[in-house]
Amino acid sequence: MNRAIIVDHLVKNFEVVERKGGLIGAISSVISPKKKTVHALKDVSFSIQPGELVGFIGPNGAGKTTTLKILSGLLYPTSGFTQILEFDPWERRPEFLKQISLVMGQKNQLWWDLPAIETFELNRAIYEIPKRDYNENLKELVGLLGVEKFLHIQVRRLSLGQRMRLELIAALLHKPKILFLDEPTIGLDLIAQKTLREFIYDYNKKYEATILLTSHNMDDVVDLARRVIVIDEGRILFDGILEELVSRYAKEKIIKVYLSKEDDIKRIETIGKVKRLAFPQVILSVPRSTVAIAAAELLQNFPIEDLTIEEPPIEEIIRKVFRGGIKPKNLPK
């Protein structure tokens, strides 16, 4: 088997009821409700090899979560073909389910009022994990994520970071070959994010698990994914190496500057394009290749209190990409 995940011309539509405001609107919607079709996925195709760690990125509402849900068998596609490990996800065969895992940031599977270990035992029975494997896996995961102390405390009493780590263990006890991670670092502090990222990286390397990860967090994508698939408004805009995406479409970098005293805006404009001006903060964008020179010039010639160099926000790259009107498919060799 050379491809773990195959998606071909996937389409997904949702029917939504439109609501009008106010009392009159409410009563009229009782009599004649208006329905609207939302085209969440318009034509999505890609394939993923076993062991790849792919970043699946796009703005809010782009269709990332919808895609993951279809791949894990939760949603029924309107049309198109999906195959995972040679199974049709919609059939939700036990043999298929035992090999996948979907981790969604806010959705818990741990029983709230009981210690996490109870949920783990339950999952062991559900996934029919042999006792020896279960003990080994548990020990390893608990060690990697450092949650030994929290196993026997009621889940409701733990902090978000602790809970997320335990949720992850619950999702990985059965050593899934395919891992879908939907915004795994959402709501976590920076250290927890980093720990989680390292864990995901190690897991991918050690078990050759295929991982499809969605995130709004640029660091997640940059640190983990070599290959990214960019989706916006239900279509794939880019599918390739991350460096190529950035270098191809982010021609600029952002310099954020804090002035210690007011200065002439026109002078600053000679260095780069001013995107935002709200004293004492000025945000500039400069071409990527000359950012170091621009920064040096700013520091030399202007009353600067603080200066940072940043990547443009991912949404900007994507919006820019879309405006450029590129071809929807761009597969690596």
Binding site: K69, S72, L75, M104, Q106, L114, I126
Partner: protein, 266 residues
């Protein structure tokens, strides 16, 4: 099998977490029995009185039997299904190699076990306080039919409840309405407040065409010997038909529901 034992275990544990809550739930059940008991006790305060073929002994036996039947048949966690569908928790279970129906049925059994233990305890206490007459069935055929119809009632209630939970697939924010609707029918048409046979014969015949009497009324009637063996067998069969019909309906609704399930909540 191990799977479901594990589910039973964790479900049982879960009930114990909110002990006080569970006890208050039992208090509620006792209060409901009080209402019915005192009502009928007052009606039959004249010991020789016979109303609709029931005398004091029979009606009080009915009420106490009812308490146990209800604890077995209607104590259920399955009403939580609508909530799980609404908030998207269903997704967690769809992702796992476990049958959602067997999962919930196992949870129900765990809940029923705990409720039954308490109900027996309560009934014993109430027995000593209120001293109603109680009737022990000795006919082995009737006992067997009683057990079969009771198990049938358990299964039928499970299916009916699940069917009304399914509304949440199409109307995620309105999960409670359909279940409330079902409860009213079960309570009144199922013999919860009064024995069905105090109603006029024509109405009774109509009722026996619905599934509700087969939940706990018919099992109780069989136990009390109000129906002969042949009639009991007939009743069990009709109950069986309802089980098949509701089971089939549930399967169809489930398949249709999954197609529209949006897995909202995230």
């Amino acid at each position: 099998m191990n799977k479901y034992l594990s589910i039973f275990k964790i479900s049982f544990q879960q009930e114990f977490v909110y002990r006080l809550n569970f006890i208050m739930w039992r208090v509620r059940n006792v209060l409901q029995i009080f209402l019915i008991f005192f009502l009928w006790d007052t009606i039959f305060s004249d010991p020789g009185r016979v109303v609709f073929g029931y005398d004091r002994a029979k009606i009080l036996t009915y009420i106490f039997g009812l308490a146990i039947m209800k604890a077995i048949v209607t104590s259920s966690r399955t009403i939580d299904v609508a909530g799980e569908i609404s908030d998207g928790k269903l997704s967690n279970y769809l992702l796992k190699p476990v049958s959602y129906f067997k999962y919930w049925f196992t949870r129900d059994i765990a809940s029923k076990s705990l409720n039954l233990i308490f109900a027996v305890f309560e009934v014993n206490i109430l027995y000593f306080i209120l001293k109603p007459p109680f009737f022990f069935q000795t006919d082995p055929f009737l006992l067997v039919l009683f057990l079969v119809s009771l198990l049938g009632g358990v299964l039928l209630y499970f299916f009916l409840l699940f069917i009304f939970d399914m509304f949440a697939m199409w109307y995620p924010e309105q999960g409670w309405g359909p279940i409330f609707f079902l409860f009213i029918f079960v309570e009144f048409l199922g013999g919860g407040l009064f024995p069905i046979d105090i109603l006029p014969a024509a109405i009774q015949r109509g009722l026996y065409l619905t599934p509700f009497p087969y939940l706990y009324f018919i099992p109780l009637q069989i136990y009390l010997g109000k129906l002969g063996i042949l009639e009991s067998l007939q009743a069990v069969l009709v109950g069986g038909v309802w089980i098949v019909v509701s089971g089939f309906t549930l399967k169809k609704l489930w398949q249709a529901g999954l197609l529209v399930y949006k897995s909202e909540g995230r």
